[in-house]
């Protein structure tokens, strides 16, 4: 079974498609039609098309940071951490709390909002990011200790169910903390178009730049960490063979904690950015964003770090294009259709699974 599956998906996408028949031809036809539709739009209104592409890139960056958390954890213990999206929600809540200056009824400082000075705004945003990253990192490590580690040697389904349970717990912590209504974020990052003086056709806002300016350094740092540091090597070793890694003196439990820590840190950053970018957050935001990110991770090849980033950006762009050219109400349908198509035709994702946490880019 597994070997035929692999043989089918191991080759190029086209070969995989040729192997199956009608359904695949329909899928190819749909993808081709959509591509043509997009190209027509790109030619007719290049400005608008480019703007949508940039929005997609920004949304994709936010999704990619969450997707990395799914993929890091999957790469190392083969668990889909369904609580991860809700940890992202916790990140946005921590962010909005820090900016409000009030915690547990105690006012620590005056709220940082649109009326604050520029320096204070920058400080506030950075402070909120750092606090959310630390909190989410620790929450993720804590979840692993309490809920997953005791089940390390249980059947995988047990851990998966626990992860879903953890997701509900976090959601309800959010609900108890800030109620069910939408929580407004102060608008600290400008909505103005950077390119206003240059061209009226293409929109690229300061807050788009903000998201990329936070995401890119985080990606570079993560990549450096995994590729070049002692702990990164240990992580790749544990991902490939836990017993052999233990024989090298690598503390497997600690290395797994580090993977959860990194995933949580990225989710925290993503949560704060999401709030500042969209101006609002809510207790169940993690479900939708988490599923988008999970789709991105699977699309790129779950376990593969580069894949998570590529998948995130693709999902972001697919979403923004659907918003513009098909209709916002169709976006979820389109994105989850992508998930199903990937699972049917290329279950190991675009870049193949696991290889990047484990080392090289592809096979």
């Amino acid at each position: 079974m597994a070997t035929t599956q692999e043989a089918k998906t191991g080759g190029s996408t086209l070969e995989g498609l040729r192997a199956s028949s009608w359904s695949s031809r329909i899928a190819v036809a749909i993808i081709a039609a959509l591509t043509v539709l997009l190209l027509v739009q790109a030619v007719r209104e290049p400005g608008q098309f480019t703007s949508q592409l940039l929005i997609g890139l920004t949304n994709g960056a936010i999704i990619a940071l969450i997707a990395l958390g799914y993929t890091l954890v999957y790469g190392i213990i083969e668990l889909i951490n369904f609580a991860h999206g809700d940890n992202f929600m916790i990140g946005s809540f921590v962010g909005v709390t820090v900016l409000s200056g009030t915690f547990l009824g105690l006012g620590f400082f005056a709220p940082i909002d649109a009326s604050s000075g520029a320096a204070l705004k920058v400080f506030g945003v950075l402070f909120a990011l750092v606090v959310a990253m630390v909190v989410c990192g620790l929450v993720n490590v804590g979840i692993e200790r309490v809920a997953y580690k005791p089940l390390r040697n249980s059947p995988r389904l047990a851990v998966l169910i626990t992860a879903i349970g953890m997701s509900f717990i976090l959601q309800n912590v959010g609900l108890a903390w800030k109620d069910a209504s939408q929580i407004p974020f102060p608008s600290l990052v400008s909505n103005a178009n950077i390119l206003a003086g240059v061209t009226d056709e293409v929109t690229f806002r300061w807050k788009d730049l903000f998201v990329l300016a936070v995401t890119v350094p985080l990606l570079v740092a993560l990549s450096y960490f995994i590729r070049s540091t002692k702990q990164g090597k240990a992580m790749r070793a544990v991902a490939q063979d836990k017993e052999a890694a233990a024989m090298m003196g690598i503390n497997v439990n600690r290395t797994i904690s580090v993977a959860f820590l990194l995933g949580g840190i990225l989710a925290g950053a993503s949560g704060v950015m999401f709030g500042l970018f969209n101006g609002t957050t809510v207790f169940d935001v993690g479900l939708r964003q988490g599923l988008f990110a999970f789709t991105a991770a699977v699309l790129g090849g779950i376990g593969n770090l580069t894949g998570a980033v590529v998948g995130g950006i693709l999902i972001g762009i697919i979403g923004s294009m659907t918003d513009q050219y098909i209709g916002v109400r169709w976006t979820d349908i389109v994105i989850f259709t992508v998930l199903i198509l990937v699972l049917v035709f290329r279950p190991r994702g675009l870049l193949g699974d696991r290889s990047a946490v484990q080392g090289g880019g592809g096979e």
């Binding site: 740092a221 960490f225 070049s228 540091t229 002692k230 702990q231 990164g232 090597k233 240990a234 790749r236 070793a237 490939q240 063979d241 017993e243 052999a244 890694a245 233990a246 024989m247 090298m248 003196g249 690598i250 503390n251 497997v252 580090v258 290889s355 484990q358 080392g359 090289g360 096979e363």
Partner: protein, 264 residues
């Protein structure tokens, strides 16, 4: 201080009454066993005799049902594999278990993990100390690759020829600076020339580096030529022990091997 044995040679490892039960199966039955310093000890026996189970207990991957291990004078029975590796127990695996999608060099560097000091913070900040340590580690890794006679450095481990993978596994185990090295069928699947080269290499580990070696091996020519002592397991019990010649002529050993109609 390592305890002195009756014959006066200090022991690097002592196993006392080691028993391992899987469900209803007694895989290893109250085995007493000692490895002197700077010695090559072979563990032989028919398939299913409990050799690899014993190995897994020495390296800490399995916990014995009863009995204790003393390594270099410390009781390590309760320590996990990574803690034992830190104290100086290294091993290779019967079915090669390299980190397949890491380069040969990275495999060896991963093996050095426990000997490098830099923490998470240091590796992020890249302090001069960390950088120097990384350079030295790289130098040492290259030297180890040369020592085992491996020329490829950047190739993914899984793409190396079989014999090279075996040698790389030894280099990776050496990187953790073991005092005791466990080799699980290191010559399996090798041709006669490769086997001869590896046998020579194992001898050099003892002579040049002073490492004690516990060897599981089916190739009798290898066992007879380099072992200082040989221990024979059958059905989880130690049935014979002594110099290679003594063991070869022990009727119980001959019976154990012929009884299974397989000599490996």
């Amino acid at each position: 201080m390592p305890p002195e044995a009756v014959d006066g040679t200090p022991k690097i490892l002592e196993a006392r009454g080691i028993t391992k039960v899987f469900g209803g199966l007694v895989a290893v039955n109250s085995v007493n066993f000692a490895i002197p310093e700077r010695a090559i000890i072979s563990l032989i026996g028919p398939n299913g005799a409990g050799k690899t189970t014993f190995f897994n207990m020495v390296s800490g991957l399995y916990k014995p049902t009863s009995g204790s291990f003393v390594f270099g004078g410390t009781d390590v029975t309760r320590l996990g594999a990574h803690q034992r590796a830190r104290l100086g127990i290294g091993r290779t695996f019967q079915n090669i278990r390299l980190f397949g999608t890491m380069s040969a060099l990275d495999n060896v560097l991963a093996g050095m993990h426990t000997r490098l000091k830099s923490g998470v913070l240091g590796s992020i900040l890249r302090t001069p100390g960390v950088r120097r340590e990384e350079e030295e580690a790289r130098e040492r890794a290259l030297e180890l690759l040369r020592f085992v006679g491996l020329r490829s450095r950047e190739t993914f481990a899984k793409n190396l020829p079989y014999g090279d993978q075996r040698r790389l596994e030894i280099a990776r185990a050496l990187a953790s600076e073991p005092k005791l090295l466990l080799l699980d069928e290191p010559t399996a699947g090798m041709n006669p020339q490769e086997t001869a080269r590896l046998t020579q290499l194992i001898g050099r580990l003892r002579d040049e580096r002073g490492i004690s070696i516990l060897l599981i091996e089916h190739e009798m020519r290898v066992v007879m030529s380099i072992s200082d002592r040989v221990t024979v397991l059958d059905h989880g019990e130690k049935i014979s022990e002594g110099s290679p010649v003594e063991v070869r002529e022990d009727p119980r050993v001959i019976e154990a091997y012929l009884g299974t109609a397989r000599t490996g």
